[in-house]
Amino acid sequence: MKTDSLWMSGNEAIAMAAYEAGVKVASGYPGTPSTEIMENLSKYEGVYTEWAPNEKVGLEVAIGAAFAGVRALATMKHVGLNVAADPLFTVSYTGIRGGLVIITADDPEMHSSQNEQDNRNYAFAAKLPMLEPSDPAEAKEMLKQAFELSERLDTPVLFRITTRIAHVKGIITKGEMLTSKVECGIEKMPQKFVMLPALARNRRKVVEERMIELRTIAESGVYNQVDAGDKKRGFITSGVSYLYVKEAFPEATVLKLGMCWPLPEQEIKAFAATVDELYVVEELDPFLEMHINAMGVECHGKDLIPNQGELNTSIVRTSIDPDSAPDLFPPAELPMRPPNMCAGCPHRGVFFNLSKMKDVFVSGDIGCYTLGFLPPLSAMDSCVCMGASVTIAHGMSKALGDAGKGKLISVIGDSTFMHTGINGLINSVYNDSTSVLLILDNRITAMTGQQNNPASGCNIKGEPANAINIEKLCEAVGVKHVEVVNPHEIKACKTAIKKALELDEMAVVISRAPCVLIPEMKKAKHVPYLTTTENCAGCQACVKLGCPAISWTPITPEEAVAKGYKEKQKGFAVINEVQCNGCGQCFELCKFEAINRKGE
């Protein structure tokens, strides 16, 4: 590695590129695989960064900064762009002053997502250019180009990465600092910025003129490259798929598109004419293929390449040459190892109680607590998108009428509540719902790696910030019954949930205890609980918590007798002292004094 080279993930490289591009304001909402862009950018001097409560807010903040004449960035995961789609489609009309780039981090294979939508479709629908790098080094160069393009053509630029760019590390080089020619200041441009119908109709024309210019730029080859090779097969590809094509077919001729919208029609037609057979290799939707077909160019694409999940070299090679499939060792039969809530996770106490309420429908939401779905707790009945817990429970309550009373619970985390849950709660109060909302307040946005949110009391840099008081917020929108419980106190938690279910009105129970992964909790001294196995009666009450620190050892009747247990005892529970965080949930459930705090 050269001395000026750095080893960085795609997201770290993008943060550095944003700094070098002269970004002054950046806003986003955490979401895998986009989160580390903002986290890293927040460490650079001279860039204002913030966590917004949701992606629509984040994009609008970035639009404001661009209107004020500075370079601005909005980051989000693919589904976040759905939330931000409203400003997206209209900022396409207004254009910008300072450069504006919107990063969408897509997640083919759904490593950590609820769907695998292909956000290239947004570029087509919103009539915006989209750039798509193949690896961290290219992401860094291309993001800087995106800002130049944005200001040159008065357009927001969409920048698409996927998991295998965001979370891939590679070698990158530090670059030059760029400066914008746009001046920061208030400039009133109502014809451009006030999108009421008469003015929007004018801007609509500007958008089409801009598309013509963008097509010319697409044709210019600035963002595209042709790797000359064997002409029997020609490949058109973009993003990470380019890397798989290069390894699967190193001899072939390849047209790599760095700008995946708009497409260079002349270049594509000319390229197609030089090769015997044309293949379009892309993950997810036949986006390039569809538009290439519309040019009247025939090609192979989704007739061979899967339209689900992520690709890799092997899939690309064998989809095109099935005979090349290697003989592989067969997979071993093994127990699955799904993710699980951590030892000492406060959510577990709530879901343990919900798992006992068999006739209740639990409308879930997006976060670590979605793991409450998994056995042994298995206490979640729906999960659609951010904020949908409270609204779905409300819709069910209206559909079910009296039959739904006392049977509808929605579960949402503090960060997701701030994201879009609050809107649903307002609706539920306004329209007289009879469901119960459980807000799991663990003081942090946990699933994405402990980011602060408006209720945490800290900003993106970890500095003190105004904290929204969740109970007062609920009361302010009109919830009359708001109760706060400690989820580690299992019985008290149950009593609170039952009480709320009995009310004939929208009720809120806030379960409050910090995530065990936040730094203060990691540093705090935890006194673990230990098992006195001779007292264990084998009731499995603690095992049913599904805590990774508790395991069950099955025994035979002979072994039971030898250990002094009743012959019918099937086993005993053991707590792993190293893993135990001392939350005490199992201690409360044990009726046989087999679990005690160390030293007590």
Binding site: M1, W7, S9, T32, P33, T35, E36, H111, S112, D135, R164, H167, V168, K169, G170, I171, V240, L243, Y244, K246, E247, N312, T313, S314, P326, D327, L328, F329, P330, P331, A332, L334, P335, M336, R337, P338, P339, N340, M341, C342, C368, L371, L374, P375, P376, M447, T448, G449, Q540, V543, G546, P548, I550, S551, W552, T553, P554, K570, G571, V578
Partner: protein, 193 residues
């Protein structure tokens, strides 16, 4: 052009796989290789099966290792090793930390832990180096350095000198953990030397 080398790191979220793969990556970069590494973040990290895929060579395109092409499998948990059997070939080197972490169905007592999981690998004629990294790390002074013990055990299969790894531990690991990590690395390396 030399063929690309493929190292697959496997284990359970929270075992220090990312640090182990970082030390290895920096060692390869110091030796002048191009490299790419793919990691898994987000939901899978909560105690689930995790991998890091590290590829190195003159020029690396894809960040993902193809099935059947992993030259080294360094596994931090016994049964997780066998999960990646389809990634191995006849000449693969497999280094296993014999620590067992029970997956939920085993912890609940529904099914037994597959203690003979490595048999599926040895049955294919592939050599497996078993390392009690947990005990070795404890002897070195810190159980959490088990990941560095494993890097030490793997290091003899890669072309870099010991000094390269030592240099990286000295510059990349916080000072208070350096000594113990250097000891852990040396103890791990001794196993395969």
């Amino acid at each position: 052009m030399a063929a690309t080398g493929n190292i697959l790191f496997a284990g359970v979220g929270g075992q220090g796989i990312l640090l182990a793969s970082e030390i290895t990556a920096y060692a390869l970069l110091s030796a002048g290789y191009d490299a790419k590494k793919s990691e898994v973040h987000g939901m899978a990290q909560r105690g689930g099966s995790v991998t890091a895929q590290l590829r190195y060579g003159d020029k690396v395109y894809s960040p993902l290792i193809e099935p059947g092409k992993a030259d080294i499998l360094i596994s931090f948990e016994l049964m997780e090793t066998a999960r990646y059997l389809p990634y191995l070939h006849k000449e693969s080197k497999v280094i296993v930390n014999t620590q067992q972490i029970k997956p939920p169905a085993v912890a609940n007592g529904q099914i037994p832990y597959p203690v003979d999981a490595l048999d599926s690998i040895t049955a294919q004629g592939i050599d497996v180096v078993s390392v009690d990294a947990f005990d070795i790390a404890r002897d070195a002074g810190e159980v959490k350095a088990a990941n560095v013990v494993m890097v030490g055990a793997m290091s003899t299969f890669l072309p870099m000198d010991v000094s390269v790894y030592e240099g990286i531990i000295n510059t990349r690991v916080p000072e208070r953990f350096r000594e113990v990590n250097l000891k852990a690395f040396a103890a791990g390396r001794k196993i395969t030397e």
